[in-house]
Symmetry: C2
Subunit: 255 residues, 2 copies
């Protein structure tokens, strides 16, 4: 398939590499920053551009991987070419594209990407939605060339999925940061916690989280929780956070 | 070394297996539940007992892996034998043992254990403290037979470590649960999130969390955050939690 990438961020970088590796041709790469466009275009043997009006119709599919609020405006400019247009956003409804073209779809890779960290794209869940059943099927077929985890997810479900990803990824990462800060304040090495962080994630790969919950809150160990709050007495914000999360753990058990 | 295990829970199960595999002899296993004692004793070729008064002096070291508030009472009964006694608790000071014996130490494996999940003990950080420098050295030597990650950590640091482990393990697991519940309410499969959870943990194995933070809060994407709070409008608790965690992420960026 001939594919044009709009955007040169983390999602675009990983997605275009996976597509190229699967034998597809990346035609053009657009970014408002020509340096970024050129770097990615170089890696996937495409033509870079920082001028959206130079994006041409020599393609089968435009993949828009840019900030949510820029999707509609770009799609409107590309729609004139009469080719398929998908976005890659978890938080954006398909309707945003359908308002400018009937050839609309969503191609949402549910993963956290960093440009400098490789990952096996075949394990990335790809959430797919098309404006019609035919488009959905074609996108599923394309998806299967790069991932073993293809899901049909409609726009309402995708919103929930995006929200749940914030709870499962963004917030845990923030809590890792809190832990690392506590260690650093006491001359302790973050390496002490890294195996624990890995094992915590591994445990839920074949189990549900509620069945492997550990810690003072799930034991209702008031003495330890009081001691922890005492240790945090110079940080009212972290005390509040500790209490709220512990309250959540306690609710979890009751349910 | 001849070792006697007090307790038959997750820590005791993994620790005694690692010690036996390293060539140490497990002499007796105590649990107030004789079924639990017998099961673990069977696996490590030891003698089970549910009567603490039958624990004998035919050993070099007692490892106490029981609930925090039971440590002191048990140690007091074992101290008469004049052998080394260590506990495995993150939240308990060494002073609790020093009050009953001079041969006291701490042997705290910083990991989350489940009886039914194997793990490579050699990667588990072992936090060691002895009542004297000689005891510390001996415990370090013992620790090195089962783990590659030995740290000398005093009681004050260990308290912080235990607190930070709650933030890095217990609370993230609870957030996985929140995410799984959101998916289940909308007929979505938890498998959609499992690769994301793994990758989030993997990312911080060679980086600091602040450098890989993603999501709406770190971008200050107010529109997405408002949409997420809207999706949670039937759950005031989760709204509160979402707002507090997002506030934390925002602070993280500013610092």
């Amino acid at each position: 398939m001939r594919i044009t990438m709009i955007g040169s961020g983390n999602v675009s970088t990983h997605l275009s590499a996976a597509l190229k590796n699967a034998g597809h041709r990346i035609m053009q790469v657009y970014s408002p920053n020509i340096g970024h466009a050129s770097l990615l275009a170089y890696h996937v043997s495409a033509e870079p551009t920082d001028d959206i009006s130079t994006i041409n119709a020599e393609t089968d599919l435009y993949i828009i991987a840019v900030k949510d609020d820029a999707i509609e405006g770009i799609a409107r400019q590309l729609a004139v070419h009469g080719k398929f247009i998908v976005h890659t956003s978890g938080a954006t409804s398909l309707d945003v594209l359908k308002s400018v073209t009937p050839l609309a779809g969503v191609f949402y890779p549910l993963q956290t990407f960093s440009k400098d960290k490789e990952l096996d794209f075949r394990s990335v869940p790809l959430c797919i939605e098309g404006a019609t059943e035919v488009i959905t099927s074609q996108l599923v077929e394309l998806g299967q060339t790069i991932s073993n985890n293809i899901y049909r997810v409609d726009s309402e479900q995708r919103k929930i999925l995006h929200l749940s990803a914030v709870f499962a990824c963004n917030f845990p990462n923030y809590l890792y940061h809190v832990a690392q800060n506590l260690l650093a304040e006491h001359q302790l090495d973050f390496n002490l916690l890294r195996p624990l962080i890995m094992e915590t994630a591994e445990k839920v790969q074949h189990r549900f989280p509620a069945s492997v919950q550990t810690g003072p809150a799930v034991r209702n160990d008031q003495q330890t929780m009081a001691a922890h709050l005492q240790l945090l007495d110079n940080d009212v914000f972290l005390q509040k956070l500790y209490q709220l999360l512990s309250e959540g753990v306690t609710k979890m058990v009751k349910n």
